[in-house]
C-alpha cells in the first residue's frame, strides 16, 4: 500500500514523549508487542512520524527498518498527520453498490482535497476506508467517531457545516 509521507516538521511535546517512554517501558520485554506499542504511539501523537518510529525502535531494541516496514504495511498506521476532523467514507462493497463513490467525490470537491490529504487549515482530512461493519446503513461515512448512514450527496454540505472549528 502506497503511503503519503508528511513533510510537516515534527513537533512532539515532552509530555507526549514521556507517555511514549512509559508505554515502551511497559512492553519492551515482549517484542511481539511492537504493533501494540505503535498503536498506542499513534494514539499519543495522532500519527507516526520518523522521529516517533525511531524512539520506538531504540526503546524496543528492534531495527528501525522493521518498525518502518510494519508502519507501511498496515493501513491503520498514518505517516501524515490527520485533520482535526477525519472523514472516512466507507468504500466497502455494500456501500459501493449504493453509491459511496459519489459521496466521496462530493466531499473531495467540496473541500478541494483528495483522499489521504488534509486541508490547509488542518480542520478536515479525508480517507476512503474499508467496511466499518455498518453495511445495513449503506452508504456510510464517519467523521471522527460520529457515524452517518443512508447518505445522499446533497446532505454533505449540511453535515460538514456542523464541523466548523
Amino acid at each position: 500500500m502506497l503511503k503519503k509521507i508528511s513533510k510537516i516538521p515534527f513537533n512532539g511535546t515532552p509530555e507526549q514523549e514521556e507517555q511514549l517512554r512509559a508505554v515502551i517501558e511497559e512492553c519492551k520485554s515482549d517484542k511481539s508487542l511492537l504493533m501494540h506499542v505503535m498503536q498506542r504511539a499513534q494514539h499519543i501523537y495522532g500519527y507516526l512520524p520518523f522521529e516517533v518510529q525511531a524512539m520506538i525502535a531504540d526503546g524496543m531494541d528492534i531495527p528501525l527498518e522493521k518498525v518502518y516496514g510494519v508502519s507501511t504495511f498496515y493501513a491503520q498506521f498514518a505517516l501524515s498527520p490527520k485533520g482535526k476532523y477525519n472523514i472516512s467514507v466507507c468504500l466497502g462493497t455494500a456501500c459501493y453498490v449504493k453509491g459511496s463513490q459519489e459521496i466521496l467525490d462530493k466531499i473531495c470537491e467540496k473541500l478541494g482535497i483528495g483522499p489521504d490529504e488534509c486541508t490547509k487549515d488542518g480542520i478536515f482530512s479525508i480517507e476512503a476506508c474499508r467496511c466499518i461493519g455498518a453495511c445495513g446503513l449503506a452508504p456510510v461515512m464517519m467523521i471522527n467517531e460520529d457515524v452517518y448512514g443512508n447518505l445522499k450527496p446533497d446532505q454533505i454540505d449540511q453535515i460538514l457545516a456542523k464541523y466548523t472549528d
Binding site: 500500500m1 517484542k31 511481539s32 508487542l33 511492537l34 504493533m35 501494540h36 505503535m38 498503536q39 522493521k66 516496514g69 510494519v70 504495511f73 498496515y74 493501513a75 491503520q76 498506521f77 466507507c90 468504500l91 466497502g92 462493497t93 455494500a94 459501493y96 453498490v97 449504493k98 476506508c129 474499508r130 467496511c131 466499518i132 461493519g133 455498518a134 453495511c135 445495513g136 449503506a138
Partner: protein
Amino acid sequence: MAEQKTTAIKPLNKMNFYKKQQRLALRNCGVIDPESIDEYIAVDGYQALAKALTGLKPEDVIQIIKDSGLRGRGGGGFPTGLKWDFTARNSADQKYVVCNADEGDPGAFMDRSVLEGDPHCIVEAMALCGYATGATEGYIYVRAEYPVAVKRLEIAIAQAKEYGFLGKNIFESGFDFDLHIRLGAGAFVCGEETALMTSIEGNRGEPRPRPPYPAVKGLFGKPTTENNVETFANVPQIILKGAGFFAAMGTEKSKGTKVFALGGKINNTGLVEIPMGTTLREIIEEIGGGIPGGKKFKAAQTGGPSGGCIPVSLIDTPIDYDNLTAIGCMMGSGGLIVMDEDNCMVDIAKFFLDFTVDESCGKCSPCRIGTKRMQEMLEKIIEGKATMQDLEKLEELAHYIKENSLCGLGQTAPNPVLATMKFFKDEYIAHVVEKRCPSAQCKSLLRYVIDPEKCIGCTLCARVCPVDAITGEPKKLHVIDQEKCIKCGACMAACKRVQAISRI
C-alpha cells in the same frame, strides 16, 4: 388506535425477516447483556466447558466436533474437528489457540456482531479448543476498527478469570488456559491464517508457505489451531447438546447454519442466519423482502473479494459450501451483496480488483504483479479501449494467478473477474465491442444528452457546466459538446425540474 397498534406488531417468528431464520451462532446476540457473565451463565453459559472438563476426555471433545460436521466458517470450509485433531496429535511444550476476528471482507459483519453481542461464547469455545488440542494459551486477533468488540472481549476475559473459567486449574481439572487480545491494524491479508500469526508475532503480516501447516508449526513456531469467530460460536452448543443436534441441520456435507450479512440493493438489510441449503431466492425474496424501487435482481455477490457472483439463472441453488464452489463461487465469510440492474458487473469486478491490488502484501509475484496487470486490463475495458484479445488475455492471466499464488488472497483474487466473465460475458463484450456500458455506470463510456423535445432553453445546464461544454441561446435548444464533456453529471442534476437530460 390502541387496537391498531397491537395488531401492527407481529411476533418475531411471524415476521418475514425472521420466519426462516434459525439463530445458533447469533442465539444470544441482542438477548443477553454482553457485559454480564451472569446473564451468559443463565443461558447455559460455561456449561459446555464444565461438561468437557469434568466428564469428557480431549479426544471425546474432538470426536463430537468431528461427528457434528462443523466446517470452518471463515470461508475455506475445512472440517473443524479434523483441524483440532491435527494439532492434538502433535506433541510440544506449548500449543496455542487462535481466534481469527480480523473480519476483512468489506460487507461482512457477523463476527463483529458475535463479539459485541456474545463475547463469553468465544471465550468458552477457545477454552474448549485448548482443552481438546492441549493448548494452554489463546490469542484473539481483532480488527482495530471494532472498538466495542475489543472492549467487551476485555470485560468478558476479566470476568471469566474472576469466576475461574480462565486461569489455573479450571473446574479443578488441572487444565490451565489463558487468553490475550491482539489488535489488527487494517490489512486484509491478515485474515489468512499464516499471515495472521506473523502479525500476532509483531511483524508485517505476510503469509508463509504451507506446509508446515499451523497444526505443526504455527504461532511462535508452536502447534496452533486457528478458527474463525463464527466457527467458535457454534462450538459450545455442539458440546452441550451433542453432535446429532447440529448434524440434523443443513445439507449432506454442510451442516448447521450460516450467518450472511445481507446488504446492497435489498429492502431488509442485516444479519441473516439460515440453515445450510436455503436457496438464494428464499433469502432475497422472503427474508430480504425483494429489491427496492421495483428494480430487477441481477446478481448476488458472495465471498467478498475472494468470491464470485450468483446470477439470476442460479437463484434456486441451495446454498452450501460445495454448491457454491461448483458454480465458481465461494461461501467466504458470508457477505451477501445484492445487485440490481443498475450495477455494472465489469465495474464491480474492477472494484474488487482495486481492493486486492491495494491489499496484496507483495510477497509473491503472481499476486503482486498479476493483479495489477489484471486491474490495468479492466481499466482498458471500462474506458472502451480494449479488444477481444484483451479479454482472452485477462482470463488466461486470471487462471495463472489462481494456480501460482502463495496464499489464499492471491489464489482467490481473480474469482470476481472469472465469475463475472462466466455469467456476464455479454456485458464485457458490450464494453469491448460496442463501447457501451449496458448499466450506464462506466463514466468513460456514457454520454449525457439533451432531449430536444423536453429542453425549454432555461440555460441552467450551461451555467453549471464546469468546462463550458453546453451551448445554446436562452429559450432555445441546448447541446452538449461530447468532446468537451467531462461527464461530471452537474447538468443532469441542475435539470432536475424539467428532466431533459439523460445518461445513456
